[in-house]
């Protein structure tokens, strides 16, 4: 009987382990689709975890973006050219994870300082999709909007970490006095501007538009999500309920979806953005 070292028990165990390890390290086969397929998730939706394992099971759609050069103010220098999209739903909530390469994380707001941001657009309701450029009068769209700055808690300290502590009288005032002072010193807060206050305190806003410049936040918009910047790329989850999309995304039905990304480092903001030229097909798994 001949035995070789190769056949020793430890060697066989090592080989088996290596095979397991190789399987774990091998990138999961990503299915690339020409449309956005929102898979029905097996478990809970990872609304606040853009890196969750569940996303790896969803097929990916790569959307091409181009500079908004239809209406002024236009984006003068092209920004983020592509965004990779995956989708999950649980019958109640619909979540899309957008991923794009961006070496500079911009999460601050300031004079000439702009945050990175992303948006997903759906037609409102069923029927033919309206203009992909934020809808048209009578053809509204619903837009999920995420801004990196909405995840920065103390903006002033983030902007100026070494600034001395400052006393703001209105912040220590109470009751009616505080309301009066807030009106003078923080008017946007006083009127609940969505830049300051969003339902559920999520970094994602649900808004409606009927053309450029008409974006209006929906005060009762249910949203969730989160963005994480790691290894030179953003991964951002933008989520809302299917109900909020009013029929444009229904399990078992085809719909439409479009995207936009703003690169803060390139001073992208508002109309100065990279966006889809055409609607992409949206399929929500039954």
């Amino acid at each position: 009987m001949s035995t070789t070292d190769d056949n020793t028990l430890p060697r066989r165990a090592a080989l088996a382990l290596a095979a397991v390890a190789a399987a774990a390290c091998r990138p999961k086969r990503v299915l690339h689709l020409d449309h956005v397929l929102v898979k029905r998730a097996a478990g809970a939706l990872p609304l606040k975890d853009p890196g969750a394992e569940a996303w790896a099971d969803a097929p990916e759609h790569e959307a091409t973006l181009s500079a908004q050069r239809v209406a002024p103010p236009m984006l003068q220098e092209p920004g983020i050219p592509k965004v990779r999209v995956r989708g999950l739903h649980d019958g109640t909530w619909l979540a899309l994870r957008l991923e794009w390469d961006d070496r500079s994380k911009s999460a601050l707001y300031g004079p000439s300082i702009f945050p990175d941001a992303a948006a997903v657009q759906f037609p409102r309701g069923e029927g033919a999709a309206p203009s992909v450029m934020m809808g048209h009068p009578g053809g509204p769209v619903r837009i999920l909007y995420w801004k990196a700055a909405w995840q920065t808690d103390d903006m002033l300290t983030a902007l100026h970490p070494n600034r001395p502590p400052t006393h703001y009288p209105y912040e220590v005032a109470t009751g009616e006095h505080r309301a009066t002072m807030e009106r003078e010193y923080a008017p946007a807060r006083f009127v609940h501007n969505p830049n300051v206050e969003r339902p559920n305190n999520a970094p994602v806003l649900l808004a409606e538009a009927e053309m450029f410049g008409s974006l209006t936040a929906l005060p009762d918009g249910r949203t969730d999500g989160k963005g994480v910047h790691e290894n030179g790329r953003w991964r951002v989850v933008l989520a809302t309920t299917l109900e909020m999309l009013q029929g444009s995304a229904r399990p078992g039905r085809d719909g439409s979806v479009a995207f936009a990304v703003w690169d803060g480092a390139g001073k992208n903001a508002g109309a100065r953005k990279m966006r889809s030229d055409n609607w992409a097909r949206l399929v929500v798994e039954a």
């Binding site: 002024p72 707001y109 400052t166 003078e184 010193y185 008017p187 946007a188 501007n193 508002g270």
Partner: protein, 363 residues
Amino acid sequence: MEYPYEGSRPRRQFAGLFDINKCIACQTCSLACKTTWTSGRGQEYMFWNNVESKPRGFYPLGYDVNILNLLGEQAWSGQRYEGRTIFEAVPEGERVLGWRPAEEDYAHPNLGEDEIHGSIERGKALSLPQENWMFYLMRTCNHCTYPGCLASCPRGSIYKRAEDGVVLIDQERCRGYQECVRGCPYKKVYFNPCTGTSEKCVGCYPKMEQGEVSQCFAACIGKVRLQGWVSQPAQAREDNPVDYLVHVRKMALPYMPQLGTEPNMFYVPPIHVPDAFLVQLFGPNAPAAVRQYREAKDDPVLRGLFALFGSTDKIISRFQVANEVAVAWDDQGRELVRVPAREPVFTRPAVDRLYQIRRQNTT
């Protein structure tokens, strides 16, 4: 002029008169505004009212030279401006000609304060390529008739009130794109990092609605300012103090009128500054305005009108000077104030015998 919206003038337009020659740069106006409106988080760097030392002071840095440079050389033909405004010289893909300051451009609110040069101690001289003059320029939002800020907002979040011409940013609609910061050539819109919205001078409209002057006007200890209403040239009234100085005498001039926004703050130019600089800043009428100002002491109406500056906390609609007394009324016809057209001079002896003290001359 090519403005992106149809012209629509307010029912009446609030306006300010500023006698630059009397300003002492005490910044009381700046602080009156600051404590009233911009003492909140994110508003630290905002000066809706600021006073800068011209020609080397700016807030933010280089705002005026930058826009003039972008606009390039343009032509006046006599009193008529024949050049392009920020609404015609629009680059492809933009709404108005503009630029946006960087954060560090706001780092020195009073850069170049009192800066001047001349001989310094013991005959040593510091020589700089600049002339031996300076003046203080007090600036608020101009509540322009054709606001660059309003034209540049793609969301229509900025509006001009029909009742008084005050230009406001709707704090609910603003989404903080900072297009208005780019579009205002006077850089009188500020972005608030803590609310993510842009903010600007509100003209103290709650006071205005009560017939009272704005905080920076009320607080001015130099009696530099007078707040009122400006009419269209064809409707100018001689008994309206603003109309009188702006339209009748053409002594109070808009700041950088060539930009095309039709600003509604009017300046009596400083008398000791080279004409070329004054013309660039205040247009071709500046040298004549200076000449009239030099002679104002011999002009009873001008003397009386200038004595009314800073004399009341109410908005003056009508004035009259007769028998060396200037009288002002509000728009209800109520008398607001009456002042001597020539301020009496009191000479106090250096030694006060009653109190047994010596007086110091502190000025």
